[in-house]
Symmetry: C2
Subunit: 142 residues, 2 copies
DNA sequence: GGAGAGTCGTTCACATTTCAACCACACCCT
DNA sequence: AGGGTGTGGTTGAAATGTGAACGACTCTCC
């Protein structure tokens, strides 16, 4: 259980640290940042709402809310989904992409500083496979 | 960065799974459960508010809220702190302890099922030290 | 070709978290 | 003593998260 305790505390502390950094750097929340990242990686810089919410970062309704926020900030736009009349596409705007490019280095820096660079290659490897195993199980269960 | 991605997704997914289990088993939220656990472990089943909030589980004001909820549920009581007139002690009640004892096995089961038991001894060890290192750094920084 | 079941995104009501401001008390220092 | 500073806990407003319910659409299968 020590493992679990450490995991829990660390993930919360790290989450806070990241939130703080992102807020300071660009006024973004962590969920918002994750959304931008995923959109930037998607082909055409766009993605279906449901698909986006499956990233485990946010629930469906939280996503609706966050996309609205990002739309107000001019970083994302909604578009009709061709071929599926109910669907909505979230599309990254130019401004959104630029913002992401501006913020990403600082974010990565924090993650490295507190997590990645503290670990040996073996530890990092072990943690990654551990996380991936668990992730796979959790995803398959629902 | 794959490591980070995996870590992030997994912690969110796991968090949801746990929340779901606790809610079903006892109508508790995860933060509430953590509070009960820490109180149960504390000498005299009691702890200062601020100390409790340093566990990284919740912020000060969130703690005030949660303790109020737990008080309504009869699982915790507030008491004056002898020797410090401003202080408040959160005290675990009999009912709170019984509830915890009833719920804990199920909770532990979930954590084992999804995280602990999926890992080899070495992986578990590596992950634990990794988490502890990071935790130490994060705590020292503030 | 149409009924029923499932999916998509939004909305609602509500629970919770955050941040800043606040009051009361403790501590320090002379 | 007693003023300044710090700490402990609470509060209020605002932001965000959740789950259930909804309306619109698609799909499947007869």
């Amino acid at each position: 259980m020590a493992a679990w305790r450490a995991f829990l505390s660390t993930s919360h502390l790290l989450e806070r640290r990241i939130e703080e950094q992102l807020k300071a750097a660009a006024g973004l929340t962590h969920p918002q940042y994750e959304i931008l990242v995923r959109l930037a990686e998607a082909p055409g810089h766009q993605m279906r709402m449901t698909e986006l919410s499956r990233g485990a970062v946010v629930s469906k309704s939280a996503l609706t809310y966050q996309i609205t926020q990002l739309e107000k900030a001019g970083m994302v736009e909604r578009a009709k989904c061709p071929g599926d009349e109910r669907g909505v596409l979230a599309v990254l705007t130019e401004a959104g992409l630029r913002c992401l490019e501006r913020v990403a280095p600082g974010h990565v820096e924090v993650v490295r500083e507190y997590l990645i660079d503290r670990l040996s290659r073996e530890e990092l490897q072990a943690m990654t496979t551990a996380m991936q195993k668990t992730e796979a199980v959790l995803r398959s269960r629902r």
